[in-house]
Symmetry: C2
Subunit: 270 residues, 2 copies
Amino acid sequence: MTGTDASPERAPGVASDAALAVSTVIFALRPHETTGRMTLWIPLVRRTRDPQKELWALPGGWLPVDEELVSAAARTLGETTGLAPTYLEQLYTFGELERSPGRRVVSVVYWALVQSAEAERAAESENVRWFVADELPLLAFDHNRIIEYALWRLRTKVEYAAIAHAFLGATFTLAELREVHEAVLQRHIDPANFRRTVEASGTVVATGEVVAGTRHRPPRLYRYNASIDLADRGPLGPESVPGTAASGAVGAAASAPSSTPSDSHTGEQR
Amino acid sequence: MTGTDASPERAPGVASDAALAVSTVIFALRPHETTGRMTLWIPLVRRTRDPQKELWALPGGWLPVDEELVSAAARTLGETTGLAPTYLEQLYTFGELERSPGRRVVSVVYWALVQSAEAERAAESENVRWFVADELPLLAFDHNRIIEYALWRLRTKVEYAAIAHAFLGATFTLAELREVHEAVLQRHIDPANFRRTVEASGTVVATGEVVAGTRHRPPRLYRYNASIDLADRGPLGPESVPGTAASGAVGAAASAPSSTPSDSHTGEQR
DNA sequence: CCTAGTTATGGTCACTGTGACCTTTACTCG
DNA sequence: CGAGTAAAGGTCACAGTGACCATAACTAGG
């Protein structure tokens, strides 16, 4: 489902079986074009084949028999954005009979987060464009619904799991981390309370360094504490995300990672 | 993945494509065989074909091209247990390259809850047997891992979502609801505090009736408040579960329901 | 009819997490 | 050197919850 979703000629298998596709909802933060406020953006690809031709769709493609699901998600993500995800998790599998006109297509959808810094220099071409997550046009198939669900998951999960740092680099200030939360949740967050909560959670560790040249008190730099959040993940351990530190390398798709349900779907939150 | 999971001869599609299967982890509550305490039980089917022949596996089968995913899950659930689920939700999609020897199999796994009362008279035969969820033997394929994940999901979700009532009938006492929670979470829960929390959540409504003949103060009967919990579900509305009130009808599999990701995976919770 | 046994129900107390806010610190700029 | 600004610390009040205490309402047995 996506650029290749409804390309009968390339579709695998016999017509009497469902075709298996993998798509990914990719999130990045960039200032809004008009308001200038940090906002969630999503890269989409223009369909060049007929079913739903010309409509924008999620990056993705048919699942190669010899490729892991996560790997396929990371690969197509890299192919369309030139980025490597800093967070990648299975979202849901959509398989309604009528979601794709013509043939039965079951799509295993993943959602990913990429670093804002990287997203800025991400590839954008005639057939790849970034859209503000809350201002999408009519997309191909049921992709509007899928993105809506992914957005819900992101907003829900960012409140109880340490994933916001995935939008940032290796080190960051609490103000930057807070800005990510504010952008995702679309609401103001008290700086002092945010600091208190984050420090108490133990998800970040002060590096000891500070950022200079800020026209005001220099903020401390923090680093994500990978040893802590393991608890909130499922019993099956974290899903290994290929190349956590995207080096901006184009086509930086990762090799076959070992996909395991972390707390994926779970995250429903309360 | 399951009774039919690795049955090459019945496998759909071309050998060069991944086969799509649907399996379901079914939970029911019954007293433990030795301790007598309410415990989680899971029905499994014995594999009669070769890959992993004789090993116990999750109920399921290949996905028919013209059947909805949820429907397939509910159908196989009914075929093996003779029950209809009171709760059914997509769990995760497993697709590791080596999870099934021989061919690539991608399984969309669902998890379901059935009423205890029904579960008692559920079918059990030479090839279908119920096991205590925490005391499983070595199962076929990666089913042990899948169940472990489903168990984690159930235990996690029961703490923040109103799903415990799915194990009970239309009306129940708070003691019964509490017993479900205690069985699932495997720990004692204070009756008074439980009552306070449940009543505050508004997920149940007193019917006004009480249960007589209890040798002590007669408990009130409550009914699940369907209008409340809609909030904790995802933005895509609840997944319609076929026949909520299982009438114990054998083969009571439901017709094609409209599958939509509720808060499925999400549930990760905090 | 009266008492013991048992669970249903109602409350209280203490502690924790969190939103709303106030104060002080530490830089840069003019 | 004073003003401006965000970082960092701290206080207060309130909601939620685990631990517990007390009373209510039946049944079973004298």
